[in-house]
Symmetry: C2
Subunit: 220 residues, 2 copies
DNA sequence: CTATGGTCCATTGTTAACAATGAACGGAGA
DNA sequence: TCTCCGTTCATTGTTAACAATGGACCATAG
């Protein structure tokens, strides 16, 4: 049965990584705050080794800033940072669209359609956090449909920062149903039609409007 | 004086990283070969800690493949891998071009022009390895001109794989002077002119032709 | 009062020992 | 002979102790 998961015992490092990532994205650390290896290790009741590993990974994801002999700090995002995140994301997602047109299977399209439901649910619950998570998971499915390993890893490295951007300033304009459902549905439609021009266009519109909504909170 | 370098003592991890990266790119390990932490640590006369750190970084760069409890292996590149590397690189470099048009300073342009010289020198020496290195360093300067930190890091993560592609099959068509000098000079010119369309076009041509030359050695 | 210099301490970098996993080998049974 | 199972061992994951760095603090001289 496909529901049977591999009983992989996770490494401690993976646990620490997941916990820290969730904590950072949940805003439990203030920007600029220093994350000491020793302190984290004690609070998580593990040794410093896995904590170091996890911090190194988080540094690759851009969730922490580490300097030699100075440890890890929570970065403070400027407007320029948000611009960087979204411009890079646009470049990646356009490539994802082109590759998906060539490589997406019916199964991928079904997965994308299915990924709309959690967004609806989250919208109904009026939980902004859940909406954003579901949104990002839709895009995960989109990148999977591209069948491009390196692109997917590039997205993984950027994904957390996108999430961070959407929550660092805590008042983000409520996203209306049109943008989160209709725009995503459009992506699926253009992808099904194998209409590259329309798809690339829709991606550009989708991300640009998301950036514009966000940019209001980051004055130039 | 600007020649005064910070007397930073490098961490052991950085040394190990540089040595291992050079070794892999130099073809000292066969594809599929297993890199044991213990063995590497002994040969480099350090402990396993820094070796682990370095291998983790190399994994992010795609130079080794690591699986939990199985360690690191040298990947074997298929044609699909090369396609992935170059398609992703194209997406990144087009973005770099657009950003450079907005952000490049005179100093950046001078650096780009200066980066042509080592290519000439390497060409004169008829050393393919040196030509490729100089080529990549030109593109480093190009990404620097974009003034886009996250893009630059994405390039750093891909750079080694590009280098690996160019040397994994050891018979690569000799690149003629036109492509390595003229095409690069064109990039500088279009960038100086702030001609986005021409620049994006030139980047596309530059990378596509490079891929085409390479793809012959990776039959579909 | 400011700036220079030195000492101390918290924190990271490194090392080496310990625990746990997974793969290879070999034997027993069908 | 082939398959299954258990043992063994090499290798990675984790831990804890040790070394070295960098910043903070304070004293002192100008």
């Amino acid at each position: 049965m496909s529901t049977l998961r591999a009983a992989r015992r996770v490494r401690v490092k993976d646990d620490v990584l997941a916990v820290l990532r969730a904590a950072i994205l949940g805003g439990e650390f203030a920007p600029g705050e220093h994350l000491g290896e020793t302190e984290l290790a004690e609070r998580l009741e593990v040794s410093r080794g896995p904590v170091r590993d996890a911090l190194a990974t988080l540094a690759h994801e851009g969730l922490v800033l580490v300097e030699p002999h100075k440890g890890a700090r929570i970065p403070l995002l400027s407007r320029r940072d948000v611009e960087e995140v979204f411009s890079l994301r646009l470049a990646l997602e356009v490539l994802a669209g082109r590759e998906a047109i060539r490589n997406a299977t019916d199964s991928d399209l079904r997965a994308l359609t299915a990924a709309l439901d959690p967004i609806e649910t989250a919208l109904a619950g009026n939980d902004r956090r859940a909406v954003t998570d579901a949104d990002l998971q839709f895009h995960d499915a989109f990148y999977r449909a591209a069948h491009h390993q390196r692109l997917q890893r590039a997205w993984q490295n950027l994904r957390s920062q996108v999430s961070l951007c959407l929550f660092s300033r805590n008042t983000v304009a409520t996203t209306s149903r049109e943008v989160v459902i209709d725009e995503h549905a459009n992506l699926i439609r253009h992808l099904s039609d194998r209409d590259e021009t329309a798809l690339v266009d829709a991606i550009g519109h989708h991300l640009t409007s998301a950036f514009d909504r966000l940019a209001q909170h980051y004055p130039a």
